[in-house]
Symmetry: C2
Subunit: 364 residues, 2 copies
Amino acid sequence: MNGMKKVEVNDLRDFIVEVFEKMGCTLEDSLQAADILVRAELRGIGSHGAMRLVEYVNLWKNKRVNVNPDITIVNETLGTALIDGGKGFGLIVAPKAMRLAIDKAMNVGTGWVSVRNSYHFGIAGYFAMMALDHDMIGIAMTNANPLVAPTFSKEPLLGTNPIAVAVPAGVEPPYVADFATAPIARGKLDQKFAAGLQAPEGLLQNEKGEAVTDSDILSKGGAIKTLGGDIEHGGHKGYCMTSIVDILSAVLPGANFGPLVVPTLGYLAGEKAGEDRGIGHFFGAIRIDAFQTAEEFKDYMDLWIRTFRGATPVEGQSAVLIPGDIERVSEAEKIKYGIDLPEKVAGGLLQISERLNISGKFLK
Amino acid sequence: MNGMKKVEVNDLRDFIVEVFEKMGCTLEDSLQAADILVRAELRGIGSHGAMRLVEYVNLWKNKRVNVNPDITIVNETLGTALIDGGKGFGLIVAPKAMRLAIDKAMNVGTGWVSVRNSYHFGIAGYFAMMALDHDMIGIAMTNANPLVAPTFSKEPLLGTNPIAVAVPAGVEPPYVADFATAPIARGKLDQKFAAGLQAPEGLLQNEKGEAVTDSDILSKGGAIKTLGGDIEHGGHKGYCMTSIVDILSAVLPGANFGPLVVPTLGYLAGEKAGEDRGIGHFFGAIRIDAFQTAEEFKDYMDLWIRTFRGATPVEGQSAVLIPGDIERVSEAEKIKYGIDLPEKVAGGLLQISERLNISGKFLK
């Protein structure tokens, strides 16, 4: 592919492990962080993959993150916990929180863990999928820096706040929904702007709240509209969705909510007044056999998947997709043929390799 | 108001109680059912209020519902339960399920109850709000008959599947989101059709999957698109949302999912083959003080609400709203001034009063 650098999965993984170790993370944590970032690359979600390393290294260089965070349980019941992430990387805090949710579900049917004082955790789907091997439904969500304007608001107050839900099936591959609750990601807008393209109608507003298609509007005080767009198209339902994620992920654990969340790079400037509580996450695990037997459920989920996959597609489309289909195909291909990193991303990693004195041979 | 019949809240409530008692429901269940329908009217959600009585009476006349259902716990853990609604009215089954979720949350931090073999349960928000008095976050969702076409599908496979989330606050009134996950309700399309109006662009498709604005398209084999519309506008995220509700509400408890759900009136025809498992619901209660103290949380939630309410509105709007604001204002007004029933709805109730030999004087 043009402008792409193909790398082997294991080379990339080893490199990322070394980066985290060089920053002072334990081997175990480094392996975990690398696994999440590589999984994002494999699943075709490069925006949450290796390119984030530059940001992580900057956070570390500026001493804004604890590489060996004191991750503590602030409060817990048999089925819940509130975790303080100790200002650690989300990639290190989040898997521990999800594991705790799974443990709790073993005992009382479901487990729910909310987290504060954490950072960007990568793809939400990774954590939701951790539940699958335990015959559980996994749920993961996080808040993020404000880019989305609630219905009627001029100002962006909400993040693109993703939700992931992973549901085990029997013979069929699992259902894995992993989606920002906003209609378009900042990364996609940046791509459009770089290509000289406008955004689709109905997704963006300028600093006055007027509808625009300028794909660079976020840098000019504009905002992304909620999923659905205006009220006539159900945009208030998108506002509900995205704000629910903010409340569960941030108000419940006491993290920075909506407009109090500072963009990672802006955060480095240290301009924000007041107490910093990091961003927040919310994880859930639902044990299938707390309801039906796992076998009954999986058979029925297979029927669900087949019913939807078997529906008649519209003209020009070959099939109705199940959430997770595209990512699963991507993963199988990339494990076999390697990962294509955009040259800009490969260049960023190369700079890190020089800065931290790690071999970046595979990137050249 | 033109074409409207104003009724006193208590007159309407007493009437509905009598209708359910005449059908053979216990006084306790009748009071509960009436409370839900009246609450829908008060909150300005007439589509889920008194007008549904006609349907309920038809279900009863055709012996398709058990007025004294055997509501059983099929399976439970400390934090969860699967309930079989015994083919009872959702208005009777659902409050018991939500109460059980709240009880479980008292003990282990959260409670989650899924329900099968139930019917239409009214407004989801009623059940979510039951948690508020216990300093809990309440969650309620249900699946419904298929009107919504998944991304790329010609066929409607999903219901408008509502979600409600109620969050307690301190000085501020609570946050209450209660919304169909589809961009527009069938009732609103019917209103547009009756008024000779087209639907907004981007919400509907015909039987070939082509974009249309015909507000009568559902009766011609068409479908509502998912929230967001096409892929460019994030419609696949709406598909994720609506399908998650279907899976949690119906696949998890073993109710009829998506296309297996038969519309209430269609259902009367008894055309559907196979085992009937009714529709399904999913309820959750999250105890605030399993995370932070209720006081800390409520203070912080007040700050969230004030921050959003205080954001600068776009031109032509007076304020950014908090989910639940409109319904709360409606409720206060109607408690004071009474409820305006459309004449068609009042006429339907009058017919029921004659059929069941109940005084319908207040409707004349």
